[in-house]
């Protein structure tokens, strides 16, 4: 038996758990803001600074998405109980929240990284195509990993309670 959720099932569960456009907007805008600032800063600093900035992106975005994820679970606790009474597993519910949020986290960080790269060049940072690509890619990867880890950790924290 498959453990994941289909797209349709994920959408139904996300609507059931009131994962709304506002939730998507919060995730995307936070990811974009962090990614934009970090990318611009990365283009203007050395290797050690870049590593520190990527670590900072990871920690802050993971904390933010973890809080959003926990909030979804907590305010939908009765709905979750209802869904479990008809066969929903914690895994399918976690997957639905993960899938409904992660795309917006990645999209927001990609947008932010692009804007940040442009800002970094304008402000006199490294402008080479290789440097820009590495900075943008690094930020997108760090942000996406952070969003994934945060959503997962938020869910785990609630289930374990």
């Amino acid at each position: 038996m498959s453990r994941g959720v289909s797209l349709h099932e994920g959408q139904l569960l996300a609507r059931s758990l009131k994962v709304s456009k506002s939730t998507h907007l919060v995730v995307a805008s936070v990811a974009a803001a962090v990614a934009a600032n970090a990318t611009a800063a990365i283009l203007m600093t050395g290797t050690v600074g870049q590593i520190v900035l990527l670590a900072l992106i990871f920690v802050t975005l993971a904390a933010g998405t973890s809080a959003i994820s926990s909030d979804i679970y907590v305010r939908s606790s009765q709905t979750i109980a209802n869904l479990r009474s008809i066969g929903a597993s914690s895994r399918s519910l976690s997957s639905a929240i993960f899938l409904s949020v992660i795309g917006y986290g990645i999209a927001g960080s990609a947008l932010g990284a692009g804007l940040g790269a442009a800002l970094g060049v304008v402000l006199g940072g490294q402008g080479g195509i290789v440097s820009l690509s590495i900075a943008v890619l690094g930020v997108i990867l760090a942000s996406s990993a952070a969003a994934a880890a945060g959503v997962y950790a938020g869910g785990r924290r609630v289930w374990s309670n």
Binding site: M1, S2, V5, S6, H8, E9, L12, R15, S16, K18, T79, A81, N82, L83, R84, S85, I86, G87, A88, S89, S90, R91, S92
Partner: protein
């Protein structure tokens, strides 16, 4: 502290004959003991009513049969599976395929349409596309709410919601149907519709139906009636 005991008719145990086997089950909430050393079986394919005073633990028993609550001690075997030892996620999958549950309190998802609510258990049981659609259409038709399938559940009356709950419980054709006070709070017309569904309609035929009720019309349909009664300390 009140203690409850159950009065039952004798039945001869035989392997594979039982939909539910309750083996020396006790249930307590903190200091309050609800059941003590409960031991009985429900034959496959029978209609059993559970009657008793309000607050006597009837819903607790249904919840334990559905795996939504666990006994403090003892074992509950449903369709040959010991559900008291199942991990939560396995229990969820088992519930999705084996037990149809119509709770007393509405547990429909108000944001979803009638159709979406009814098809949810099929998603959880991993029933795919066309098969899912066919099963949903069938049960909506049988329960008589296919015309309402696109309505958002929050716009339905109490009786209509009960019909949707019933359809949702039946959609995966589970061998066991658990109903908690199914005619409670319904107007006579809607109650009659539910009774009609329980009365030998092919939706419920061959299934083990276990229902808690105060409604004499429901107990009259039952082949067996269990009474929960308060034991004088």
């Amino acid at each position: 502290m009140e203690q409850l005991r159950i009065i039952q008719r004798n039945e001869t145990p035989a392997e594979g004959r039982f939909a539910v086997e309750v083996k020396h089950v006790s249930k307590s909430y903190g200091e309050t003991e609800i059941y003590s050393d409960l031991h009985f079986q429900l034959l496959k394919g029978t209609f059993v009513a559970l009657v008793g005073p309000i607050g006597s633990g009837k819903t607790t028993m249904l919840n334990m049969f559905a795996g939504l609550d666990r006994p403090t001690s003892g074992t509950i075997v449903v369709m040959g599976h010991d559900i008291t030892k199942m991990p939560d996620d396995v229990l969820g999958e088992f519930r999705a395929s084996t037990v149809g549950f119509v709770p007393q309190v509405q547990t429909l998802i108000p944001e979803l349409t009638v159709r979406e609510n009814v098809e949810l258990p099929l998603h959880f049981a991993k029933v795919e596309g066309e098969n899912r659609q066919r099963k949903t259409d069938y049960v909506l038709e049988k329960v008589g709410i296919r015309g309402e399938s696109k309505r958002i559940v929050s716009t339905l009356s109490v009786g209509e919601k009960q019909m949707v709950s019933f359809a949702r419980a039946m959609v995966n054709d589970p061998p066991i149907l658990l109903l908690d006070e199914p005619t409670e709070a319904l107007d006579p017309l809607m109650a009659e519709v539910i009774l009609g569904l329980l009365r030998g309609d092919n939706l419920t035929q061959g299934k083990t139906v276990f229902v808690t009720t105060h409604d004499r019309r429901v107990t009259e349909l039952a082949r067996r009636t269990l009474r929960v009664k308060k034991k004088i300390p």
